[in-house]
């Protein structure tokens, strides 16, 4: 009964708040500006690494558009069909805006 959290803001408060309210086994899908959190050395990247109780996903088009190398993270890159599959796999979706 886990939750898929979708983040789309590059500003840290969404991510900070999400990390606090998520349960073990929840997923975080980064899309839009939220993928900037994957930049090596960023504060958001450090924040993501402070916890390892969630699964991490990122939307492919947003990674590629911003030329972000996310290789330091254990994450799954998803296209739209895989995005849909994630929303089915998790019991509920929490879209942070």
């Amino acid at each position: 009964m886990t939750t898929l959290h979708i983040l789309n803001s590059g500003i840290g408060s969404q991510l900070q708040s999400c990390l606090r309210v998520l349960s073990d086994g929840d997923g975080i899908l980064l899309c839009g500006e939220a993928v900037q959190a994957l930049r090596t050395g960023s504060q958001a990247a450090q924040l993501l690494m402070t916890q390892n109780n969630y699964r991490l996903y990122a939307l492919q088009e947003d990674l590629e558009a911003r030329a972000i190398d996310a290789s330091q993270f254990v994450l799954t890159v998803v296209d739209y069909p895989a995005f849909v599959a994630l929303t089915v796999e998790y019991a509920r979706v929490n879209s942070w805006i």
Partner: protein, 149 residues
């Protein structure tokens, strides 16, 4: 025991492949990347044979339901793409009436009621209340919203 486990795993796979009923809330205007993302997601949903119970336009999302947006030729017209999608697949598209009126999106009935010049609600969309969001949530397996950036 091994067979039982295999059956269980197949059952899980089966569950994952079952068509689900989705409500999509669009909360951002057509210039926001979130509104484009919502459309691409909705298209992918139908491609996988899931059902869209309703698309509910709320907050600045109501702005995508206006038929008088003019977009430069070298830019994607996401509002128009949404409108084409709604009509092509006969999607139940509800625009929150209170949110729409305060942002200048009116159908002909409301335009007449408030003595404004003509309605601008795109064809295929309906103005209605927030009860329509709740009605859809009650009939849906999943709710996903797109807003912000």
């Amino acid at each position: 025991m091994g067979d039982a486990l295999a059956n269980l795993l197949n059952f899980e796979k089966f569950i994952l492949m079952v068509a689900m009923r989705f409500v999509i809330s669009v909360l951002s205007s057509s210039t926001s990347p979130a509104t484009r993302r919502a459309l691409r997601f909705a298209q992918a949903l139908l491609a996988q044979k899931h059902e869209i119970v309703r698309v509910f336009f709320y907050q600045d999302g109501v702005l995508s339901a206006a038929n008088n947006l003019v977009v430069a030729q070298d830019q994607e017209d996401i509002a128009r793409q949404w409108q084409d999608f709604i009509r092509a697949y006969d999607i139940d598209a509800v625009v929150c009436i209170a949110a729409a009126l305060r942002r200048g999106v009116l159908d002909h009935v409301e335009a007449t009621r408030y003595q404004r010049q003509g309605g601008n609600l795109a064809e295929g969309y309906q103005l209605s209340g927030l009860g329509q969001l709740h009605d859809a949530l009650q009939r849906a397996d999943r709710h996903i919203s797109f807003g912000g950036a």
